[in-house]
Amino acid sequence: MSMSLDTPAPAPATLRATRPFYWSVRRELWESRSIYLAPMVVAGILLVGFLIALGHSGGGSMHWTSGDQNQTGVVGHAEVESGHHNRTVSPAFLAALPFEIMAGAVAITGVIVGLFYCLGALFNERRDRSILFWKSLPVSNRVSVLAKAAVPMLVIPAVVFVVVTVAQFATMLIGLIGLTLHSQDPTILWRVLPFGEGSLVLIYGLVALSLWYAPVYAWFLLVSAWSKNMTFLWAVAPPLVLALFERVAISTSYVGGLIKYRITGAAAAAFRPSQGSHLELANIDLAGFLATPGLWLGLIAAALMLAAVVWLRRRREPI
């Protein structure tokens, strides 16, 4: 049988130094398609939710949702925020609802996907023995590990940004259609939606989140490189047990506080408290973020753990 492989230009005799890294990242995407599928699915579900919400508040002429009273929290939130409970489409409702919920939900999905990706990244290749294949190629352990670390820290945030942006455009289109159908002035959307500003805030937020969670990703990668089974348990249980032990033994909760700070502290470190319903450029606190010791300590811890991951990958054998 004949092959029909798509043939790009033949490989040059010497490779640019970045090529192994580039292909190592691509290989991760082939293996873990949830990296981009999960954010897309979540965004898609939210879009459908917005459509339903729009139909709901838009009234009788839109029948997508008739009979469905059990709306998601999204609708409740929108109604509370907009203060409207009637049949007109409020611009405030449209403005407040989709942007931040969409961005927040997809970003959180990205973090969760990133954590689960990390747990499998070095474990799966040992379990299915494919590490012997990867190591038969001229790719150093450092490049392999950095490619794996780049997935939650660079690739997923980029995916989240693209998905959120596309979804926000779609949301806006839905809004435009809704407003037009209800004979309202659609240009009001331009005035209430912080488009360019929202994207900048999103980029800043994603970068901050990535840096803030770097030690968490690195810890999960370390567990993945080291553990022989039950990676999730090894990743989660030791910190919790340690926190519990501290609490019981010496009645303090430094470890617990540290864990809580790391998991929930990103927003407080990177943004000034928001007065209104959404984050604006004015809320960005770059100087404050860069002056947060927790950021730098976390990054140092992440670098040390990644070095340990490289060390382990060099030595660990198939399970």
């Binding site: 798509d6 005799a13 290749e125 190591k135 001229p138 352990n141």
Partner: protein, 306 residues
């Protein structure tokens, strides 16, 4: 012999490796020249894989080891530009598509010839869109071989490459390797338990047992050195006096294996032929305790060398 003078492809001196209290390699010396096909044969746990892992830079070791002039443990990623290995049939990732595997190797390997790999694959039933997990074991082996043969490498290491394959795939594997890949500028090391299938492609033979080399000879030397004598019962006592290294009986006749006893000396007692590697393996490894102590040339202290 190699066409031109070069340093050995592999040079190991007093290679040691222990796992806890288990000694996997007990001071292995090994030299492999360019253009050789070495069979590394030994029972389970003899240290074959440990030796290969050291050569491939997959595990640390003690002792001296140079592969293509490099320290494999320190320079694995550079070394892998010139070295390929097939660990066994199951190491290609099952989730990967065939086309992805070709893309990836083309992406990271400077010596990979994509057209060559595709030409090899075109002769098989493997489709580019298939997932590796959907292929039969034999097809996965074909794919791996296609990837490896398209790499212009100097050393190919095969660790039980045909394990679990049926007879046809096994034969095809070695035929392809010999006809389409091997040339005098390449070197191959193969370990396998299916000794009889590699007997005719090898140029050199090393037996390993308990982390030590118990035999190291070229195949030319093998044919000059080892003889198998099929003796009728009435001649057995006289034949035994010549100092066989092994004796087995079958179908009422005895088969004696000699190391370094000339064919003329044996001919009067029965039929003389060259033993198979498998029979010699049983003879040597089966009597390993005595054999190993006398080093790689046991005939010398048996007083039986012709």
């Amino acid at each position: 012999m190699a066409d031109h003078q070069t340093t050995p492809v592999i040079q190991a001196k007093a290679l040691m490796k222990t796992f806890g209290t288990t000694v996997a390699l007990a001071g292995l010396d090994l030299t492999v020249g360019e253009g050789r096909i070495l069979g590394l044969i030994g029972p389970n746990g003899a240290g074959k894989s440990t030796a290969l892992n050291a050569i491939l830079g997959l595990a640390p070791y003690e002792g001296e080891l140079k592969v293509l002039g490099r320290d494999p443990w320190k320079e694995r990623d550079l070394l892998m530009r010139d070295v390929c290995f097939i660990a066994d049939v199951a190491v290609l990732p099952r989730w990967m598509k065939v086309s992805n595997a070709v893309d990836y190797v083309a992406g990271v390997h400077p010596r990979f010839d994509r057209a060559k790999a595709e030409a090899f694959l075109a002769r098989t039933d493997i489709r580019a869109s298939s997932k590796i997990g959907q292929l039969s074991k034999g097809m996965v082996a074909q794919l791996h071989l296609a990837l490896v043969m398209a790499i212009d490498a100097r050393l190919l290491v095969l660790d039980e490459p045909t394990l679990g394959l049926d007879l046809l795939y096994r034969k095809q594997f070695y035929d392809t390797l010999l006809n389409d890949y091997f040339d005098r500028s390449r070197t191959i090391i193969v370990t396998t338990h299916q000794v009889e299938e590699v007997q005719y492609i090898l140029t050199d033979l090393v037996f390993l047992n308990r982390g030590q080399k118990v035999l190291d000879c070229s195949m030319e030397a093998f044919e000059g050195r080892f003889r198998e004598l099929i003796v009728a019962p009435d001649q057995l006592a006289a034949a035994r006096a010549l100092g066989p290294i092994d004796e087995r009986t079958g179908l009422g006749r005895s088969v004696l294996i000699f190391d370094g006893v000339g064919a003329e000396a044996l001919a009067p007692y029965g039929e003389v032929r060259t033993p198979s590697i498998a029979d010699l393996f049983v003879a040597v490894i089966g009597r390993n305790t005595a054999y190993a102590k006398s080093g790689a040339n046991p005939g010398a202290n048996r007083g039986a060398v012709a």
